[in-house]
Symmetry: C2
Subunit: 199 residues, 2 copies
Amino acid sequence: MSAAPAPRRYRGRSIAERQAERRAALIEAAVAVYGDVGYRNASVKAICEAAGLTERYFYESFEASDDLLAAAYREVTRRLHDEMGAAKRAAEARGQNGVKAALKMYYTRLREHPEAARVFLVEIGGVSPRVDAVVAEAIANSVALIAPAVRRRGAHELVAAGIVGGVIQIALDWIASGYARKVDEVVDAALRLCAAGER
Amino acid sequence: MSAAPAPRRYRGRSIAERQAERRAALIEAAVAVYGDVGYRNASVKAICEAAGLTERYFYESFEASDDLLAAAYREVTRRLHDEMGAAKRAAEARGQNGVKAALKMYYTRLREHPEAARVFLVEIGGVSPRVDAVVAEAIANSVALIAPAVRRRGAHELVAAGIVGGVIQIALDWIASGYARKVDEVVDAALRLCAAGER
DNA sequence: GAAAACTGACAATGCCGATTGTCACATCTT
DNA sequence: AAGATGTGACAATCGGCATTGTCAGTTTTC
């Protein structure tokens, strides 16, 4: 019994806080470095340097390289989805098309972060089972989000998956073109796709 | 001038023929090995073994690992597109829906080669600029193929990209589900997506 | 202000696979 | 059958990076 672990503080933060900060720093740095050189060329060392930390702390927070990639993916998609949800609600409160607003937010953010978009839409595929699982889960979430609406129109649930894939492919095409189109054109194309299955 | 390079034969084949055979053997072996262990874990050595060749011949035909991946991708997609085209023409000759026939061929073949599907739809992303270019080209070809039809309906060309991406995502979802649906259901979902933009 | 815990820089180790080189054997030409 | 060329097995080299370990300096606590 006993064992008071002496919750000592350092620079004003508790152990847990410091750890969390380091972890967050690594994730931020990872996104930056991945965007710079690509995931495959991003060494643990380079990421730690960018985070202003030493390698030892990498293994404190992450088991291995792909563990960090998965965490970064989660973080990035979480933020993006939050923003899309907020945009949707805001638009609907104004009596406007919520889906359109969400899509616009999506493509706008992608446009603002081309390197990140490349990493998390393209490079992420097939890195490892662990990462694949995280990506699959995120996509499944998106699909589940729109599946009810699709069903209501009498279409198969797989159509929902198709719509999600289509929205992503439109983004990829747009990126590959060097963002040759205006955001609103892209959004309109995506909206058109979303109408799939309507009678 | 002069320099008659003595077109010596070996086992009944000319130099060029032997080289081409070895190259083809490597590509076949690559598809098999990739499917087995994934591209990232497929060593040059393992592929050569599977092809019944020695490492030396690898570098005779390919510059590097990703060069072979690109070649394998080209080969696989070429065959698939040929078959889809043939199915389309055959159906239309019978007065049936050609697009539907092509899609059915697509999903049927994917179902027959789940490992290959995984490699060439998922793992292939972000392997290297060289491979990315080949993939982008193949997708662009598919998009170009359906773009006229989409335009005719008054929709943006990006919608074509969306449709292609959707068809692929439907495949991925289907694969992830362990092929839980019948092929015809999948084809119907894809067809529904293809109708996007119709009034 | 002295001991204890925390941190950052850096070196040592270990592993894995690509790429190249060597050599004995097989198959051809004449 | 002899010499030339193609081939397959295998060893040697090489480089890169993850992962672990060491140590001096810093910030706390008491």
